[in-house]
């Protein structure tokens, strides 16, 4: 579904961020994209969604080159950035203005998700709090039924009950062929949701494993001092 082959990328007048990055990700899972600040998590999501172009190497997402930004690719991908814009219209109007662009858009699902998030269609988006806006955007993204959902710090700005709702609606709305990539610092918020992790460091993937592999390889043991006996 996502294939990076020897990918290079750098921002203008800055040191290279990715050098010969190679990564393969298959569909049907929820991936946690982890790494310290500046490790390239957001840039990776932007490259995957076609908002940035690689300098060299090969990048294939859903069988497309993202930089071409073809409609059949854009219909199947949805990125929710950490900072986003929503127009000052009602939720209903937003759905009416944008749902037509997504052929698989599920109107029934978005109603259910809105109810779960306590959002009403008549509410004006500009009157919503940041957290409510984010929840609405997540419900919209899920209702598009896109095959690839990219979430950049999705739990930032959500209160504790909303984080619970977020986990519930994401886990409950996905089909088997969908892939969700969640970039986050708040590992605790998504630890029960993700089934594999990718850790980025200095522009390289230093770990890409399923969670059960990780837990099989790592053991946490209690150490007791001999003097305590």
């Amino acid at each position: 579904m996502i294939s990076f082959q020897n990918l290079n990328f750098s921002y203008p007048k800055q040191a290279p961020l990715f050098r010969n990055l190679t990564l393969e990700v298959k569909s049907g899972s929820i991936i946690g994209l982890l790494g310290k600040n500046g490790s390239g998590k957001t840039t990776l999501l932007k490259l995957v969604s076609g908002l940035l172009y690689p300098e060299a190497g090969n990048l294939q997402v859903l069988g497309h080159q993202p930089k071409n930004r073809l409609p059949s690719f854009l219909e199947d991908i949805f990125l929710i950035p950490e900072e986003f814009y929503l127009p000052s219209i009602s939720i209903e109007k937003f759905i009416r203005a944008n749902s037509g662009f997504y052929p698989k858009f599920d109107h029934k699902l978005i109603k259910q998700l809105q109810e779960a998030c306590e959002l009403s269609g008549t509410q004006s988006i500009h009157q919503l709090s940041f957290g409510q806006k984010k929840k609405f955007l997540i419900t919209f993204a899920l209702a598009t039924k896109c095959r690839l959902l990219l979430l950049d710090e999705p739990t930032n700005g959500l209160d504790i009950p909303s984080k619970g709702i977020f986990r519930k609606i994401v886990a409950g709305s996905l089909d088997e062929d969908q892939l969700v990539v969640i970039s986050t610092h708040q590992v605790k918020d998504v630890e029960n949701l993700i089934d594999s992790i990718i850790i980025l460091d200095n522009g390289q993937v230093i770990l890409h494993k399923d969670l059960h592999e990780v837990s099989a390889e790592l053991q946490f043991k209690e150490l007791r001092s001999s003097t305590a006996k």
Binding site: L51, R69, E75, L79, Y85, N98, P103
Partner: protein, 245 residues
Amino acid sequence: MKTDTSFSISRFSLLFNQFRIYNGKLILISISGLIGGLFVMLYSIQIITRFDTWRYEHFMYLFMGLFMVLAIVYSGSSFPGLRTREKGYNYLQLPATTTEKFLFELLMRVLIFIPLMPALYWAIFHLEGNLVEMLNSEFTFQSFSFTEGFHLPTEAENNWMKLFVASQGLLFLTVPFFGATVFMKQPVIKTLGWSIAVLYVHLFLLNPLLKNASPLVIHPLTAYILLVNISMVTLAYFKLKRKQI
């Protein structure tokens, strides 16, 4: 819908639908404001000139001034989806081709302006004039039209001169349109900055030619200005196509 052809009528109509839902109120308010503002401006000029009868030059100079200002402001506000990084994410990820997004902006910000602005100006000018004539016996209103020529010796020369003026007028739309794809923040001001510099150099170079405005000069000059217009639109397309955020 599941097509990657460069142009789809259904996706184009979705762009129009989105534009209507997002901007419906704003468009109505802007047009109402423009009509009201123009009414006030025309009436103020009449008061200052003590209700002197309008002459054709007044009609045209006022039109040209308004055309320049409104064209720069309106066309410079093209691609509102590129004004901030956050809006850019939405705009570039909207499932439509670059061609569709580009043609939609070109239609709504350039092509629609060319007939609509003169028509609106003509209608308000005549409405206001007739209204003032009815209310004020001092004022005599005379009707004007844009079809009057330049009174040059031949029809062909008249047509060339019209094309020459129109191509220059078009620059006030195409240059800010291009600027809107280059600059993310305050594209109108930044475009004005560099276009004034370019215009200054052009006028400096073209001044000797314009002094002898013979057909020999007007024809290649018109072709040159039309080429600049086409270049601006073409460059805007490629800027949008290669846009990264």
